[in-house]
Amino acid sequence: MSASEQTAQALPARAPASKTLKQLLHVPLTMAVFALVVASLANSFWLSAATSTVALSLSVAGLAILYGQLGLVSLCQFALVGVGGWVTLRIGHAFHPPFEVSMLAGGIVASFVGLVFGIPALRLRGLYLALVTLMLAGAFQIVISAWGFPDGGPGFLGRADGSGRAMLPRPDLADGAVAYFLYVCAVTGIGLLVAQWHKLSRPGRAWTLIRKGETVAVASGVDVLTYKAWAFALSGFLAGIAGALLAGNVGQLDGRAFGAFESLNLFALAIVGGVFNWYGALIAGLLLRAIPALLTDLGMDGYMTIGIFGVALFHALATAPSGIAGQIAALASRLRRAAGREQ
């Protein structure tokens, strides 16, 4: 065999773009199957829980970018969900545009706030960054409890002073519970696809280099500031859209639901679900909403979830740092290899 033949064999001609495409295809396919199964089986209680599950998984996908890709701990993600929901309601009640417009506004404003919340990450990492972002989440909690959520009253603040609150109408094409669930699945599917595309292409590679070390990233030609900022903006955008979808689910939001503890909880469950595989976000969403719903359904105290989550987090940190999704992925590749051997 000549040298050139060897090279030709060593470098099989393939189009790498189509491989990325195939990997991306997993996202809409999985989401479609998940949506159809849930929509055909769930009663109204479970449908509502499933809707928040899916919406929240979008905010987890944002966290997974920051932690899984860049290695940055952000403990204020749920505050950004709150910002997105807040803006969506505000725009919706004030101008009555189509739901999609309010939703995009929520995503964009949350993206800017996320960018601002990301400023400490230019200097800090690890524990210090975690503390600073947790304090930001606490500050947000104070602001919303002092200011209140726009819960459907008149005026800029939108406070309903006992005069009855207006509900934010759902999108025109998805008014019913099942339709709205499918709508949320579709929007989330697109969001997860966008996140996964980032992971598999140029920004994802730059992010992993930054995680490896900023000097290494710079030496590879990465503009560290831009790529970090982009990660925070994207993560905030996804959180904001999640907030909008939550707002659309019941037509209003309770400001008390956006405390600092929720951000902490979201981060913990993102780890348990798995930040290195895209479906880890969906698993985290399920843990966050489906487990409490299950306990309520069984007549048990919802607070038990905190204990369960604590144990799950400990388990993940001790034995499975890539989370449940990582374990599923490892199992799948073992099965594939076993199947390959049998042939």
């Binding site: 090279t7 470098l11 590679r205 730059a206 992993t208 030496a219 590879s220 030609g221 503009d223 290195f276």
Partner: protein, 234 residues
């Protein structure tokens, strides 16, 4: 050609480089010196991660110190680090792509990556994850990253550290081919004097921030000061 003029680096009270003046012209030049001599610091000055308090550096007639580290990479400066820095959860190809993304125009990226893979002999491992590579394969990936995107100067910080003699020889053969095939000058730090002797036409010896000797490798290694300071001879 690298021209270093009166460069001084100061960290608090320490001067790891103290008034260094040297000109390196060989296609593959060596940089040696005892531990803590300031070798890595000099590489950091050249790549821009350490700013000297005084002095001047020219690369191919262009002043280097005025450029940011990123501008230097775009200008054709490449480096590897003393500890290998392959990204575990990217494939070999992904690791190469990660730099090609920023220094090669989009239509040529695929070809540049294939060329680098073939050059370092990792064509068959393109889809393997970084975490599954052994040290030798990781060092090859790092060399592969350095030759992507028309490099002008490649700085290698102990590229053969921890490798077996055979692996070191393979790496040496590859490094020797770089100037002719990719048009880049190479500056290599290594503790293995025999490797330096076999690879570098020209060598510079640092000793606690000072220039101890510079010139053709054979002459430099025979220099009594070098033998005393570096090879531990009396």
């Amino acid at each position: 050609m690298i021209v270093i003029e009166d460069v001084m680096v100061q960290f608090g009270g320490v001067r790891p480089i103290n008034g260094l003046t040297a000109t390196l012209t060989a296609p593959v030049a060596g940089l040696i010196g005892p531990n803590g001599a300031g070798k890595t610091t000099l590489l950091n000055v050249l790549s821009g991660f350490v700013t000297p308090v005084r002095g001047n550096v020219m690369l191919g007639g262009q002043p280097l110190l005025a450029m940011t580290p990123l501008q230097r990479v775009r200008h054709g400066l490449r480096r590897s680090f003393q500890t290998e820095q392959v990204v575990e959860d990217l494939t070999v190809r992904g690791n190469l792509k990660a730099i090609a993304d920023h220094v090669v125009a989009a239509p040529d990226r695929h070809e540049a990556i294939d060329e680098a893979l073939t050059f370092v002999g990792l064509g068959a491992l393109g889809d393997r994850l970084g975490q599954s590579l052994n040290l030798f394969e990781r060092r090859l990936v790092e060399l592969g990253k350095c030759i992507i995107g028309k490099p002008k100067l490649i700085l290698l910080d102990e590229p053969a550290a921890g490798l077996t003699e055979e692996e070191g020889n393979t790496l040496r053969e590859l490094i020797l081919r770089v100037p002719a095939e990719f048009g880049a000058q190479v500056l290599v730090i290594d503790h293995d004097v025999e490797l330096i002797r076999a690879m570098c036409k020209e060598t510079i010896v640092l000793d606690y921030g000072k220039l101890l000797a510079i010139g053709p490798t054979g002459t430099v290694l025979a220099h009594p000061d070098v033998r005393r300071a570096y090879l531990g001879e009396l």
